[in-house]
Subunit: 436 residues, 2 copies
């Protein structure tokens, strides 16, 4: 019967069996020590018996073993106990030296990232690296738990589409039984349609963008959380819904993964229940005043401003998540709602966290006639079959609604404190990378 | 301040505001009645005032309204209360008659399915139809909660691949920045690789199969649950893991959605904690004996046997979920493990539920050399770049493991009692359908 490393302490003085990978092997004063890794941690085994040492000859890191031995208290061993007088059973021998050393810190320097991704299946065996993806799993879990508690219905919408989801952006195309199909850039149209039935919906899934540039912020296949919320009283309701989710999820992950985050040298969390909100114009003004670099004629935020405003809010308001609102109409998508109080701006807020845009959170135009006009202005043909069903949903009555496209990869990146969104992704895809 | 229909009972005698869609409208004895649908149910509003009746003139089903009125107890109204003396605010008028009647039962007959999918955004507004997808959302939720409780790590793996996941099956191909890419048929290779780091992983996501046939069981884009579990003692551990999850999830959904399932005329749940297990040979023998149709020379199960064995187990053993094991080697995939006790069969079990295969649950071959041999026998080139990283993971040590590919759409179908997997899918994809 296998026990896990974390339970060793309960078996002091007894013989138990552990299973895992040889994670480290060293010879010290004539004695062989091996660390065996299982999903809960590392077990140190003290191998003195010659026949047992012999079994380890030529066995490389990664060799899969079962070790039966006596549990002995040892304060210097991980978990405060180690195995003595072990009997080793090699389940799967590894005889070639692995391409990278998994028990050493993984180097995340930009120039090493190709090696990182090339050897991903190996480097996630590293104790530290693995934590990034356990935190990612928890973030996904807490997000869904929060949304279920708010009565959102999880939906799964198709990634194979007859038309592009959003005008203009780069799409992947493929042959679908003789017909041209595109890969969904987002569930945008579907989630809006589903507000008509469920009021509140969400989806977590892949989003495909034929993004030809190489940046630390973009991948051609991202994991996106899409939320849509009906019967809002105004744009504020959308921002509040996203804010409450992010506050809940981040405080929870910082609580339940405190040790992991500390050991990864993640920044401390500085968050208030209500996130500060600035208009784009206010950010330009504040930034220009502070840096003497004039951005007041810029329409959008420049990346330096995204970083600056988060630092500013952190210092002045104790919150490193902020909403920037009232983006200029020049940047709008056809499905955004123009601000009725200032038609030069859109009811669209971006959530920034630690200097990076994590989510776009607009209110949608829900009036059929206005929507059709906005499509035409954007150069999109409302008669295109890809929009037929979408427009029908508005004809059939959709309430005021809004939502967000939320980058899961980016949230993981910024939570852990990584340089690139790709480091937060198990197998990132970009213009140069389609494998592993 | 909006309240929901389900909370009306708490406000008897008070004036409240509800918001939703006009779901039904009728004139009875000179009085206009409207039912307003929100996400919790239907509110009956009794409209007598002429000015208010006038507001409803020409307003079709789907019109979005806020109704402010007095809550009056009324045992014949849904929820035991209705609104009197309403003041209606039309938020979004619907002036064209919807293509289908959403307050009438939706007809699921095979010949009506095109109409069903063509008008999906409208027919999920139907109270009954909507329940199917709320149950689907809950099934997804309970599955994840179960897997988290068993220490599985949720992963997200790429759908854009350099090579086909599994030899032979139909794949969609596309141009990826000048390189040929395929759409993942499953996360098979990735989840196996990740066992090397996390031991236990799962993923819920789309799987793409260029399936040229039209059946009630297949779609070209399915939602699959993929599970992989390391350090198993044998194939039994895989079957047990899937069995315990399914038992937990189904009993929970039948408990928490009891009313919904009853109103959908879903079959009663007949399940034992341990699911009966039969080998393929045993099913052939039992079926041949019972029906006089000789299937003993068949290698695989025929669909009639899948239905028959579930009925048989339900009647004889009180369980309508069964495992069928020891599939013949002729049907194996290269990554399956051949049964060491009978080399004509594979350590592969199918989970059948109510007559349909829901999941395939094999043990994997984890020995590098054997795996390479099996690839060659299957006509797959182990040197193909699509398998490079996969094979490296085995060289670096993978423990005994197994898992399942589990059809979420099929689980929903069979839980609710639908004829086709497509009815359990919001926007199904098949050879003839790429929209909506």
């Amino acid at each position: 019967m296998r026990i896990l490393q974390r339970d060793l302490q309960d078996h002091i003085g007894a013989r138990v069996s552990i299973s895992g990978w040889i994670h480290k092997k060293r010879l010290l004063g004539g004695i062989t020590f091996i660390n065996v890794r299982d999903r809960s941690g590392l077990t140190q085994c003290v191998v003195k018996d010659e026949a047992e040492v012999e079994k380890l000859r030529g066995m490389q890191i990664g060799t899969v073993v079962t070790v039966e031995g006596m549990v002995v208290e040892e304060s210097r061993a991980p978990g405060g106990a180690e195995l003595h007088e072990p009997v080793i059973d090699v389940l799967v021998p590894v005889t070639e030296q692995p391409a990278i050393e998994v028990d050493k810190p993984i180097d995340h320097k930009p120039e090493n990232q190709d090696t990182l991704f090339e050897n991903r299946a190996l480097n996630v065996r590293n104790i530290q690296e693995k934590k990034i993806f356990k935190i990612r799993s928890s973030l996904n879990r807490y997000i869904r738990e929060h949304l279920h508690s708010q009565e959102y219905v999880e939906i799964q919408t198709p990634k194979l589409l007859a038309g592009a989801t959003e005008g203009g952006a780069e799409v992947f195309k493929l042959d679908y039984f003789g017909q041209e199909a595109t890969l969904a850039q987002s569930p945008q149209l579907y989630k809006q349609m589903m507000v008509g039935a469920f009021e509140r919906v969400f989806e977590v899934g892949p989003a495909f963008r034929a993004e030809p540039s190489m940046t630390t912020r973009h991948v051609s296949e991202a994991t996106m959380l899409d939320i849509e919320l009906g019967f809002i009283d105004g744009h504020e309701d959308v921002l509040n819904a996203v804010q409450d989710m992010v506050y809940d999820v981040l405080t929870r992950v910082y609580d339940e993964h405190a040790d992991d985050l500390k050991s990864l040298q993640a920044p401390q969390l500085t968050l208030t229940e209500k996130f500060p909100r600035f208009t784009v114009a206010e950010v330009h003004e504040l930034y220009t005043k502070a840096t003497k670099e004039d951005t007041t004629t810029e329409k959008d935020l420049i990346p330096a401003e995204e970083r600056w405003i988060c630092d500013y809010a952190k210092k002045k308001m104790g919150c490193e998540a902020v909403f920037v609102t009232e983006f200029p109409v020049e940047a709008m998508k056809f499905y955004h709602m123009i601000n009725p109080e200032n038609e030069q701006t859109v009811l669209w807020g971006d959530l920034l966290f630690r200097g990076l845009e994590i989510a776009t959170c607009p209110q949608r135009e829900h009036h059929y006639d206005t929507l059709v006009e906005q499509m035409k202005s954007a150069g999109i043909d409302p008669e295109h079959p890809g929009y037929k069903y979408y427009l029908e949903a508005f004809k059939n009555g959709l309430p005021p609604h809004g939502g967000c496209g939320f980058g899961i990869d980016r949230l993981v990146q910024k939570t852990v404190g990584l340089q690139s969104v790709k480091e937060a992704t198990l197998f990132p895809r970009d213009i140069n990378r389609l494998a592993p």
